[in-house]
Assembly symmetry: C2
């Protein structure tokens, strides 16, 4: 049995939801409210499960792990695990170089963009550095434009219907939640024609639609 | 032939240098000075190679890629590629669950800590948000303590001589440069006993010693 601890608006949980849907895997979804009462991710029970006090956390009770439940954090590590355990509907190309490019594109979002714009960072800017809403918005927009500007150039070389050719990959699973998030913060993305086009293509697929934040049980 | 564009103080390039050394691979090293003249990573020639305008960038001229030179960015994607192409001295465990845990630990550094503390972010804080040196230092220390606090708990469950058991893995390649960086910013790490111990163990190995920033040709 698979279990995913997430939150409807978490981009990182959103990535894993798409992976599960794409592979047709059932997982119990547990909501961890990132804002209520200072954030449920900081409560003792959850912190024991994931000391990083972040979502997502993932459990596989049927991993063959001798210690019983196999607990994993970090969305890209979870998705690589799912892709190895359930190789149907592969999220990484078979070819070594192609696989590396897909990982590189995924990480250009996961290691350069998302970390600068997630909740804990925006909270730190406001609370500890007294950054006002306008400057916080500029911060957000700056990293989105820097990241998507570079990604758009990579896509010119590699994209087809999706980020890498005509199959859904790990890169698309990172792109779509980042675009969703950027739209929420009113970033104008229209100059990134590949990004807009690929996101549109992804969002025609049930796996992506069902994973959308507003379609989650904990959406408010 | 392998070629690595890096910079002596870049933690991400440092990770790749350790991987190359550990696997006994020769690579031509090209220095991209991240500070001089506004940063050589922003020059047109380099930006063409890596539109993210970050180090490292990596070239494999003997990849079998039909387009000739195979160019790759993002340190973890580069290291996974090296580990697949040169499987001797593996940097990821064979066991699927163990491999996932190693990736998770590596990403807890690469996706949560390093992105908040790298040069471009510290420059933005100072230049765009007028954050003074004390507050910038607090920012830096905050994310190091948050990240290492969580990692230390994961290490209690998984560490041996190294981050995962008694073999060097991708997690160690991320840990050691992050510790180096934290020491440079005078973060007191002594309460993280596993992190301190593992870093010490790693730094007994030639692969790690030769990759140290101060041992690079472009160190000043």
């Amino acid at each position: 049995m698979l279990k995913l601890y997430g939150y409807w608006r978490s981009s990182a949980a959103y990535r894993v939801r798409i992976a599960l849907n794409y592979k047709g895997l059932e997982a119990e979804q547990v909501s961890v409210h990132l804002v209520k009462e200072g954030g449920e991710q900081h409560k003792a029970d959850y912190a024991k499960l994931n000391p990083q006090e972040l979502v997502p956390a993932f459990i596989d009770t049927d991993s063959g792990d001798t210690s019983g439940e196999f607990v994993l954090s970090q969305s890209l590590a979870i998705i690589e695990y799912l892709d190895e355990k359930y190789p149907e509907m592969a999220l990484l190309p078979q070819n070594m170089q192609q696989r590396a490019i897909v990982r590189s594109m995924a990480m250009s979002i996961a290691c350069e963009m998302h970390p600068l714009n997630n909740l804990k960072v925006l909270q730190y800017l406001a609370k500890e550095l007294n950054v006002d809403d306008d400057a916080k918005s500029s911060w957000y927009h700056h990293w989105i434009h820097e990241g998507f500007g570079a990604l758009e150039k990579q896509l010119e070389a590699h994209a087809g219907q999706f980020c890498f050719g005509d199959s859904v990959t790990l890169a698309d699973l990172c792109l779509v939640p980042q675009v969703y998030n950027a739209n929420r913060f009113k970033v104008d993305l229209q100059s990134y024609s590949n990004i807009v086009r690929i996101t549109h293509n992804c969002n025609q697929l049930g796996a992506f639609v069902d994973a959308m934040p507003e379609h989650q049980d904990d959406a408010t």
